[in-house]
């Protein structure tokens, strides 16, 4: 009967600080993760306080100011309709953030539910759900989004639906794998022994212990969704003008790539920094939450 050796038990015996604090300590040590956190927090703040930060109305047309180079009045220049690019970038952050969060939430809810039920019950239910998941997986993610948007028509709400539907499969697979391993744990058996019903076991015992990879994946998924929205908007089937969206700005600016490059550089940088930030944060969280390091 295997017994923990000295070293195993010694370090496990004496954990006293809260797990959140430990995670934070580990995260702090990772410089790149902190950079990611900084970028993400900046994005959130910019989106929240857009009204305060933006100097101009993003949809205000002023043809006389059309295609101005970046100057003191317009820090990032103006676009072909004379709209201040800086303000549009700021409001675009809000659009990106909202889409990122809402679409990811939809994917999360659908994916976690399917993954949890599939993983817990197994059998034909699992096989059926996994085949459905496989069907979705067979389509290239972006192409499917395009198809859905074309079918539904470009609008804010439709983007949530399209990106939400396209992204649930990864969650389902992720959660299913986690549930399958966690459900064999002794504390789950203990919950059954104590008389808990299936719903309680899944919600109270299994899912909270599958959180770690879900958190990590969610962080990175938001970045992916923002990028996808930019792509859709660029193709004209995303956010409808005149709403500011970085992707839309890229589309509108692509004709002026050589003579007014600031129209595309700024939205490009914005997208790049946002996705980078989410990716770095996500990877940092994955290391910080590593279950091998946690008791």
């Amino acid at each position: 009967m295997p017994i923990n050796t000295d070293s195993d038990k010694t370090f496990e015996l004496y954990e006293t600080s809260s797990s959140f604090l430990e995670m934070w300590v580990r995260l702090k040590r990772n410089k790149l993760a902190i950079l990611g956190l900084f970028l993400v927090v900046s994005l959130v703040l910019v989106a929240l306080f857009a009204e305060v930060i933006a100097p101009y109305d993003p949809v205000q047309i002023a043809l006389k100011n059309s295609l101005e180079e970046p100057n003191s009045a317009h820090l990032m220049g103006t676009d072909v309709l004379g709209r201040d690019i800086f303000s549009r970038i700021i409001y675009g952050a809000r659009a990106s953030l909202i889409i990122g969060v809402v679409a990811t939430s939809i994917s999360l809810v659908i994916g976690v539910t399917i993954g949890a039920i599939s993983g817990y019950y197994g059998g034909w239910l699992d096989a059926l759900m996994m085949r459905i998941t496989d069907i979705f997986f067979a389509f290239p993610f972006f192409l499917l989004a395009i198809a859905i948007m074309t079918f539904l028509g470009a609008s804010f709400i439709n983007i949530f639906i399209a990106l939400g539907i396209v992204g649930w499969t990864n969650y389902a697979r992720l959660v299913r794998g986690q549930v399958i391993s966690v459900k064999e744990s002794e504390y789950v058996e203990a919950a059954r022994a104590v008389g808990a019903k299936d719903a309680r076991i899944i919600l109270k015992h299994i899912l909270p212990n599958t959180l770690t990879p879900v958190i990590v994946y969610t962080t990175m998924n938001i970045g992916v969704v923002i990028l996808a929205e930019a792509g859709l908007s660029f193709l004209g089937i995303g956010v409808r003008p005149p709403s500011p969206s970085w992707g839309l700005m890229l589309a509108e600016g692509k004709d002026f790539l050589f003579n007014a490059s600031w129209l595309v550089i700024w939205p490009g940088i914005a997208i790049f920094l946002t996705v980078l930030g989410y990716n770095l944060l996500g990877e940092g969280l994955r290391d910080a939450l590593d279950p091998r390091l946690k008791p």
Binding site: M1, P2, I3, N4, T5, D6, S7, K9, T10, F11, L13, Y14, E15, S17, E22, V25, R26
Partner: protein
């Protein structure tokens, strides 16, 4: 230090550096093993017995761990100061080690023959066919039936007891002077444990190897060992021969340990007398004796100063203020 002394550990200190503080896993351990002798190292979790063994073989992970001070004199040389090359010549060759769980300490993708041969080829500069013959011979010696065929089997094709025999074969293949066995029977069933203990007794006779047997099982110690070292929270607390330890234990921890064992042969059932409390946090060791908090015979001095390991009777060492002269211990 006797003339027949094979290994002498003096004041060994091995610490680990973690986020939560410095873990003083081994903090002043002294032990000595004579040639051909079996020393039992007894202790519970956190006592530092495994870390002591790893320190002797310099297998402590650096930088998280560090052998802070002390000497390990083996055959005249201080192993702490030896180079890594010298240590590699010693490991498996002059000092061998077997571990608790044979499931995880054998490589699952190599045959047992290859694993035994690896040790022989490395240290005895033998050719492969010669090494294979030796490997088969070792398997026979440890009681594996049909050794010629089984030498080509993989670990998963053996049972737990057989795998432990394979480990012993590997360890003894180069006829080491010292065998360190870290809980070799804890993961085995009791009847298999009996087989392995029997095997180890026989091999001891045939090879004359000194054994450092690390275990928490006092029954195994009584069966196999001549001398016993008791460890608690990184220190040596008692060291003597096996008869003296069981009949007249001096350190309160040893006494407490013996008292908390259920006896198979007790005629009338007696309530167990456990040691109250828990082992200390190795990151925050108390100022005085590490055991004071749980000791039912503690005195004020026990909480202020750390006791030293003294020879209170010929061959019987204890680290406890109850036995230090000059300290008034009368109730």
């Amino acid at each position: 230090m006797g003339p027949e002394s094979l290994i002498h550990v003096i004041n060994l200190r091995t610490h680990f550096y973690t986020d939560a503080g410095i873990v003083k896993a081994v903090d002043g351990v002294n032990l000595e093993i004579q040639k051909g002798e079996t020393l039992g190292v007894v202790g519970e979790s956190g006592s530092g017995k495994s870390i002591t063994a790893m320190s002797i073989l310099r297998l402590i992970p650096i930088p998280s761990g560090k052998i802070v001070s002390g000497e390990v004199i083996f055959d005249g040389k201080d192993l702490i100061k030896a180079s890594e090359d010298e240590m590699m010549r010693i490991r498996g060759n002059e000092i061998a080690m077997i571990f608790q769980d044979p499931m995880t300490s054998l490589n699952p993708v190599l045959t047992v023959g290859e694993q035994i041969m690896e040790v022989i080829v490395l240290h005895q500069k033998a050719g492969r066919s010669e090494a294979k013959k030796k490997a088969i011979e070792m398997l026979k010696k440890v009681g594996i039936p049909e050794a010629e065929g089984r030498v080509n089997n993989y670990p998963h094709q053996f049972s737990g007891g057989m795998r432990q025999r394979v480990m012993i074969a590997m360890a003894l293949s180069c006829n080491p002077k010292l065998l360190i066995a870290d809980e070799p029977t804890s993961a085995l069933d009791v009847t298999i444990q009996a087989q392995i203990m029997d095997l180890m007794n026989n091999l001891k006779r045939d090879y004359g190897t000194a054994i450092m047997l690390i275990t928490h099982d006092l029954g195994v110690v009584a069966e196999l060992c001549q001398k016993v070292l008791v460890m608690y929270a990184g220190n040596t607390v008692e060291y003597t021969d096996v008869d003296a330890l069981f009949s007249l234990p001096k350190h309160p921890y040893t006494g407490g340990l013996l008292g908390s064992l259920p006896k198979l042969d007790e005629l009338v059932k007696q309530r167990l007398k456990p040691i109250e409390g828990q082992p200390p946090d190795l990151r925050h060791l108390p100022q005085g004796c590490n055991f004071a908090q749980r000791c039912n015979r503690k005195k004020p001095i026990c909480e202020e100063q750390k006791p030293t390991l003294l020879e209170v009777e010929p061959g019987h060492f204890v680290s406890c203020f109850l036995y230090e002269e000059g300290v008034k211990m009368h109730d």
